[in-house]
Amino acid sequence: MTKKNVMPVVVLSSIALVVAAVLAVVNMICAPIIEKAENEAVAKSLREVLPWIELSEDPTVPDGAPETVNAVYKDANNKGYVVTLTTKGYAGDIDITVGIDENGKVVKALVTKESESHGKPGMDSYTDNFAGLDSDGVLNCELFSGATVTSTAIRGAIYDALVAVGAADKVEEGEGETLPRTDEELLNLAGELVSENSGFTSVSVEGADPSLKRVFKEKSGLGAAIYIVTYTQYNPKESEILLHIAPDGKIVSAKLLSASVGGGLIAPDQSFIDKFVGKDYESIDDVELISSVTYTSENIRKCIKSAVEFVVPPLPRTDGELLNLGSELVGGGTLTNITPETTEDFVKRIYSVDKGGYVVYIVTKTEYNPLESEIMLYLSGSLKIEKAKLLSASVGGGLAAPDQSFIDKFVGKDKNSASAVELVSSVTYTSANMKLGIVNAISDVEKVMVLPDTARIVGISVLAVCLVAAVIGRAVYVRRRRV
């Protein structure tokens, strides 16, 4: 081994050792400061739900905590906890953070991430209902009409947070209702009924009509398979029906799995169930009952209607009415329905107008559920509100609802300036929802219209810039050649 071969190794190793030592010293100085800053960053995010929390230890997941619990952060002064959870909603996972004080009461709950479909409640305002509640209060908190699945999931998660910190007893799963068929059988039948499906996820039916026993949501957006068990003419005789309901609320297919009436009567057969195929919420009542078994057939019809309502909550007006109202608002014109599959809160229908612009139909929740307000907007191509009409408004509780003068404040505004419109002080919840609905309407139209117009503008800009760049480049090149 010559000096020539050894020296490079020695030098490189020495430099590496010196560098390691220097970095170790710097790390020793910086590590405590970094750890403190990171803890402070986590604590800052947790203070949104528990303002006084101080962290001194890593989060834990207590033994026996519900599956939804991700982490429990304990306050260093034993004045409460913050629990982070993930639960299943209607359209996907919902992340929730719950602050709980030392007395086992909810301080605040926040939904930090969700992807629920239209018809869902304003998340922040729903979780506000849990502030100050203990375990009994949480269990008895009302669900949100029109979004029972989502609100059930949120309520369940908040209760799980209380269980995780020992402020509530775990609700033992009971024996459960005994159904005529197992879940496995039902999933197989659903697979046969919904052709070309990509599998199903089970959706909670808590709060739904008692006849809805199972709801299986198809994963690729084909809708849902719903299993109904209805009582027939003579209790406890049952009929079982499996429905495939599309995302637009129409019944795609229906199968009568079993029917019995008793009393020597002939039960409804598949031909009766087939009459519901192609129907939606409004037209289900057109199906004639079977005269010999009116109780059973009426029950079946009612349960099928509840199933459709569960999958796609109906609008206050028909599509035909909305098209007429929209045409009237824009002063005559043809409207085309361009509503995407998912829309923001309160936005129900989006129509493009043949002479330019867009009409949007909004339904908002008011101060007292389930009362609703309806607004129709006419947006120009540059997304300014040209016209706005309050179709109906109700608040309840003896309060005066916002009137057309509130909606008129939005005329001429774009998304940013609409967000700055002042609320009506006596009905802040209702007016806030209306404002949110209007802002969301502009956002949704922006998404729907973005491709054609923006692509055109970007394309022309790129072309123009390339042309200019080419001219400058050519001039520089020619000048250099001359030199």
Partner: protein, 253 residues
């Protein structure tokens, strides 16, 4: 005299041999971190600190580091300084640390730093190398800031995050996107070129064949790209015959 020489070294890095717009080095962070002026300033300052420190350290160790392992040694030294800057930013300026993301660590492989170490620091004294590092770093910072100025003001309609009333409504989002970044970069290079900054000083590659990545496939004994030779300062760079002689000498060892 020495002061004038150092001033020349400093000014070269700033304008005449601007690493981004003239030498076209460090384009990756240039394009990635010029979407906003705050990002550009942070990246520029971090790179300047690393450049000054690494140039000084490499210059101090230039007589000790053998030629055969000089690149690994330079990288270890540069990586050390980048790690120190990372730790200090994470501890004292966490918001800047978060904003820079992965590009802070990527300063290690920034061509400007390794390039200046190879081209200047290993042949000059500590103070000269530090001044060169400062000049190059500030030149990098200036170029980044110029790009970020155009992209943020006309692309996002903001100035250091604050909305500019008229421009915000008529902003061109394309400029903030990667293709727009390339376009602004190209236009700036063209402008610098048109101003005559790059003209007339064709530089010769100043590393030996030993350090050349194309050595295995190149059959030449010297590098004949950019063969217009200039006398820089008091240095006489290699000419053709010197290159041939040095090859012969190395062959004879």
């Amino acid at each position: 005299m020495m002061k004038e020489k150092r001033l020349t070294v400093f000014l070269k890095g700033l304008i005449l041999e601007n690493p981004v717009l003239v030498l076209i080095l460090g384009t990756c962070p240039t394009l990635a971190q010029t979407g906003s002026m705050i990002n550009a300033l942070s990246m520029g300052l971090a790179a300047t600190v690393v450049l000054v420190c690494s140039n000084s350290a490499i210059s101090a160790l230039r007589r000790i580091i053998p030629d055969t392992v000089r690149i690994p040694c330079y990288i270890v030294i540069i990586a050390a300084f980048v790690t120190v800057v990372q730790l200090l930013l994470q501890a004292f300026l966490p918001s800047i640390y978060e904003m820079m993301g992965v590009y802070l660590a990527l300063i290690v492989v920034n061509c400007i730093i390794l390039g200046r170490a190879e081209m200047f620091a290993r042949k000059h004294g500590v103070l000269d190398s530090a001044v060169d590092g400062l000049g190059m770093g500030l030149g990098f910072l200036l170029a980044l800031f110029a790009m970020a100025f155009i992209r943020e003001i006309f692309g996002a309609g903001t100035f250091f995050g604050l909305k500019i009333p008229f421009l915000y409504d008529y902003r061109i989002p394309f400029l903030v996107a990667p293709p727009g970044g390339f376009l602004v970069f190209g236009i700036l290079i063209a402008v610098i070129d048109a101003l005559g900054v790059r003209r007339g000083k064709e530089k010769r590659k100043e590393f030996s064949c030993e350090g050349c990545p194309s050595r295995a496939v190149c059959n030449k004994t010297f590098c004949n790209e950019n063969i217009e030779l200039v006398n820089e300062d008091e240095q006489t760079p290699l000419n053709k015959s010197d290159a041939l002689n040095s090859e012969k000498k190395e062959g004879g060892k």
